[in-house]
């Protein structure tokens, strides 16, 4: 099956078995390894990507479901540079081993689009599908709070 989709801003056309998992299409066939696989069963969130702006777990999607879509991974989340969430994760110590980080970044970025001024409890709730075994989440929550502030300032600056 010929699949056409946009991946991190670049058009891609591939001839692939539509039954492949989307995470494998992205990682193996497109060479974009930002989405990670931590469980393969939709529990850890490491493979999270944005599909037409919505958070989706690429380990639970089939290749065919990418056709015609716009897919954004942590690699392309901020466009040309890093997304404020990624800057904040790096600055605030939200990154340790880094394997869950791309999924956390994608999830948090989508969350902040809808919740520009969240509480820590709301952030924790939003990240409940992203398992991290290194940080204990404290600094990830710090980072998402910080990113919210950065994004509010950016918006304010544009006015």
């Amino acid at each position: 099956m010929i699949l056409s989709f946009t991946l991190d801003g670049e058009p891609r056309t591939l001839d692939l078995d539509p039954g492949l998992r989307a995470v494998d299409v992205l990682r193996e066939h497109c060479g974009v390894t930002a989405p990670k696989e931590g469980c393969g069963t939709g529990e850890c969130g490491a493979c999270a990507v944005l599909v037409d702006g919505e958070v989706r777990l690429s380990c639970l999607m089939l290749a065919a479901q990418l056709d015609g879509r716009t897919v954004t991974t942590a690699r392309g989340l901020g466009g040309a540079g890093p997304h404020p969430v990624q800057e904040a994760l790096a600055d605030r110590g939200g990154v340790q081993c880094g394997f869950c980080t791309p999924g956390v970044a994608v999830t948090a970025a989508a969350f902040l689009e809808r919740h520009p001024d969240p509480t820590r409890a709301e952030i924790r709730d939003a990240l409940s599908g992203n398992l991290c075994r290194c940080t204990g989440y404290h600094k990830i929550v710090d980072a998402v709070e910080d990113a919210a502030e950065r994004m509010r300032k950016e918006r304010g600056g544009r006015k």
């Binding site: 494998d24 990682r27 193996e28 060479g31 974009v32 390894t33 930002a34 989405p35 990670k36 696989e37 931590g38 469980c39 393969g40 069963t41 529990e43 850890c44 490491a46 991974t73 942590a74 690699r75 989340l77 890093p82 990624q86 800057e87 994760l89 790096a90 600055d91 605030r92 110590g93 939200g94 990154v95 340790q96 081993c97 880094g98 394997f99 869950c100 980080t101 791309p102 970044a105 820590r120 952030i123 924790r124 709730d125 990240l127 409940s128 599908g129 992203n130 398992l131 991290c132 075994r133 290194c134 940080t135 204990g136 989440y137 404290h138 600094k139 990830i140 929550v141």
Partner: protein, 761 residues
């Protein structure tokens, strides 16, 4: 040595930006061209004799490159690096359900999965040794052919005559504690790629904590000279001890030998990781603690049984640390600690952060709480009264000559608002909710201990374009040792991080520096790196003296990107220096070793390796805990940790270690139980093995108690492990104060409800 300039600052880790952008390449991200996939067929049966393995159907499948069984393994077919008891592929017997009986190499993952299903192993079941009781029963079936039955190692360490002292104590407390198997659950499961080149050298990129020792282990297991094994260890997606020792390596190297020179990838699924990966040892700990009416600890007698599962891995060394830490961070006049490391048909237990100590921390702190209760003393004051201080001898008689900040940690906690207001907080509990505030005091020996040189070899190079490249020799599994190395090198060489490059361990490029383990990575490699950087600085000043026509190198200084002569303002750019020096002259290599104690505990001679320790980080933890009386659910509302890790090099990385360890420890306390029934794991994925999520944990407040560890780089000591040991006893301490004396972890709602009904089973 002057403090690092970054002390107190919270600048980002060197490795963080690439990781946040998803650009860092982990072992799992390697997909070389023309890739083959390898996978193992697991026994399924926990104990049995292998009558045969019918591979005919699998071999006949199109796209199957090789199907291998025990007969195809060259060399000893034994891995394990101390006891060498674990087959690469089982040919005669399987000892746990995750034992591999066949290895398949195939063109695609899909073909691999089909081929594994097509293999028919013929395993004659044997009675299953499903735990400590079954293993230690008279006439128990033997997991291995040992004269000692299923007891791999039995040992006793003593200080004085604890039994006699126990008889003379005013108060004697007795209790038995149980801890479960715990799974590491690093997000990046065990994986790697391997390729054998035309010269017969096998190149492997593996998620491993021990790349250099892997060469030895794989070499022995497969009969390959070590120099034909090249191991690269990129940043790991977590390790925590579960990648200390081979996981995929032997199978992967074997697969590469049958792949016709093509690269082979093996990546365990989460289910396979749970089934075949290493675990924390389940333990049973019977403690008897005797004290004076004044609360002075007079005698401790304990019996520790560690379930090492089907193979030894580091089980004996882990049990040794249990014995060594059995009396906790306290002055105890006499001690008798008896340990047994026992084979069963459970999953293989091995290294895990808090290596044997996380278990006994539950027990010794449980005893302190019970003693405080019995004596009517404040539990924190009792701990402070008995806290080990510099100059004391610890429970196994080793003199504490290094930094010893236990009392300072407890003193910090005593003044903390959450401790001072505990009474009011408990009284204000909402209806049907019980509240308690618990404390725990813990420690964890740093480094390998005596008998196994804790050494590292650091290498730093001036590149031809004038940058400095650090060749890390100890894996970075996320703990941040390598970004800390960059910070140290920047300090000694007076450079900005923009002038630094960092190479992760590679057996062809960096030097053997031991495993990423035991809270040693920053300490030992850091010490070596400081020396290497000092040698580099000295070298460059001398080389620059020639070019700048300066008579005394003392008149020169290293500056970012240049060697400067402040008196004249002249400077020699490092890029120019780099381009002029011979490659051999642009490199400095230095080594360092961790000091060990000369004290030999009575009975300690039973352990050749890793016992006892000289330097200990300490911690005091506080947990505010709520119990829902209707559901039995336990929630940790607030958490505070005071940690003595010597001087703090980087507050952010320090807090990361504390918070991450506390999270793992709270998982251990409340949810995580990698239980097997009849040798078969009940958990198959992350919905049945539950690790804490963002909503399950409180914010974790971290305070550093800055002692100075004179032997350490910039005065630091490693805190990777100590934080793991506090949460389980701190939560138990809170529960005890609510009238819930828990002796079995984790504290599931079922167990809490039973305890509310007066039953702790």
């Amino acid at each position: 040595m002057s403090p690092l300039p970054s002390m107190g600052s919270r600048s980002r880790r060197f490795d963080a930006p690439d990781k946040a952008l998803g650009r860092e390449r982990f072992a799992a991200d390697e997909y070389p061209e023309n890739l083959l996939w390898a996978g193992a067929l697991r026994a399924g049966a926990p104990h049995g004799l292998v009558r045969g393995v019918d591979t005919a159907r699998a071999e006949a499948m199109p796209g199957v490159v090789a199907v291998l069984t025990a007969g195809d393994v060259p060399g000893a077919n034994r891995q394990g690096f101390i006891y060498w008891d674990m087959p690469v592929l089982c040919g005669d017997k399987v000892r746990h359900a995750g034992d591999p009986v066949a290895l398949v190499v195939a063109e695609t993952r899909e073909i691999l999965a089909e081929a594994l299903l097509a293999i028919e192993p013929d395993i004659e079941p044997l009675p299953v040794v499903d735990g400590l009781d079954a293993a230690l029963a008279p006439d128990a079936p033997r997991v291995h052919d040992l004269e000692t039955g299923n007891v791999l190692k039995q040992a006793t360490v003593r200080k004085g005559d604890a039994r006699a002292a126990l008889d003379r104590c005013d108060v004697v407390i007795e209790e038995t504690f149980f801890t479960p198997q715990q799974a590491h659950c690093f997000l990046e499961t065990e994986n790697g790629t391997a390729r054998m080149d035309a010269a017969g050298i096998i190149h492997m990129t593996v998620s491993t904590q021990s790349p250099f020792r892997d060469r030895y282990e794989v070499g022995q297991a497969l009969g390959i000279p070590q120099e034909r094994l090249h191991v690269i260890a990129p940043f790991l997606g977590g390790g925590f001890g579960g990648k200390d020792g081979v996981t995929v390596q032997c199978l992967l190297a074997l697969a590469a030998m049958h792949a016709g020179g093509r690269p082979v990838k093996m990546w365990w699924s989460r289910e396979e990781s749970l089934l075949a990966g290493y675990k924390r040892h389940a333990a049973r700990m019977r403690f008897r603690l005797g004290a004076g009416a004044d609360g002075a600890l007079r005698a401790l007698v304990c019996d520790l049984d560690y379930d090492t599962g089907a193979y030894a891995h580091l089980g004996v060394e882990i049990m040794a640390l249990g014995l060594e830490h059995a009396s906790g961070p306290y002055r105890v006049e006499t001690l008798e600690a008896n340990g047994r490391c026992v084979y069963t048909n459970n999953p293989v237990a091995g290294a895990f952060r808090g290596f044997g100590v996380a278990q006994v921390s539950f027990a010794f702190e449980g005893m302190m709480d019970r003693l405080a209760d019995r004596l009517g003393m404040d539990p924190l004051e009792l701990r402070l009264q008995n806290a080990i201080r510099r100059g004391d001898r610890n429970g196994v008689g080793v003199a504490m000559t290094a930094s010893t900040g236990m009392a300072e940690c407890l003193a910090g906690l005593r003044e903390h608002p959450l401790w001072r207001t505990r009474g009011a907080w408990v009284r204000e509990a909402p209806p049907l909710t019980r509240r308690g505030v618990g404390v725990a005091a813990v420690l964890n020996g740093m480094g390998y201990g005596r008998g196994l040189a804790d050494m590292a070899v650091a290498k730093v190079r001036l590149t031809v374009d004038g940058r400095f490249r650090i060749y890390n020799g100890v894996s970075d599994m996320g703990q941040g040792n390598s970004p800390t190395f960059v910070r140290m090198a920047c300090h000694v060489l007076n450079q900005d991080e923009s002038g630094m490059e960092l190479v992760q361990p590679d057996t062809d490029r960096s030097h053997p520096s031991g495993s990423a383990a035991a809270g040693r990575t920053t300490y030992t490699y850091g010490k070596a790196l400081i020396r290497a950087c000092e040698a580099m600085r000295d070298k460059l000043l001398h080389r620059a003296a020639m070019a700048l026509l300066v008579d005394d190198v003392a008149d020169l200084e290293l500056a970012p990107g240049a060697v400067r002569h402040p008196a004249t303002g002249r400077a020699l750019p490092l890029a120019l220096l780099g381009s002029k020096l011979h490659p051999d002259d642009r490199c400095c290599v230095s080594e360092a070793m961790m000091p060990v104690t000369r004290d030999v505990p009575e009975g300690g001679e039973a352990f050749r390796l890793g016992f006892p320790h000289l330097i200990f980080p300490y911690a005091a933890h506080l947990a505010r805990v709520e119990v829902d009386e209707l559901t039995g659910r336990v929630a940790v509302a607030d958490y505070v940790a005071f940690t003595d890790g010597g001087r703090v090099l980087d507050p952010q990385t320090y807090e990361q270690q504390v918070q991450g360890a506390v999270a793992q420890g709270l998982g251990y306390a409340l949810w995580e139980d990698c239980a097997a029934e009849g040798g078969r794991l009940l958990a198959t994925d992350l919905s049945t093995y539950v690790i804490p999520g963002a909503g399950d944990l409180p914010d974790i407040e971290s305070h550093a108690v800055e002692t100075v560890e004179e032997s350490g780089p910039f005065g630091m000591k490693g805190i990777g492990e100590v934080g793991m040991n506090g949460p389980l006893p701190a939560v138990a301490s809170a529960l005890l104060r609510m009238g819930l004396p828990m002796t079995r972890a984790p504290f599931t709602p079922e167990r809490i409800l039973a305890a509310l009904g007066g039953d702790d089973s």
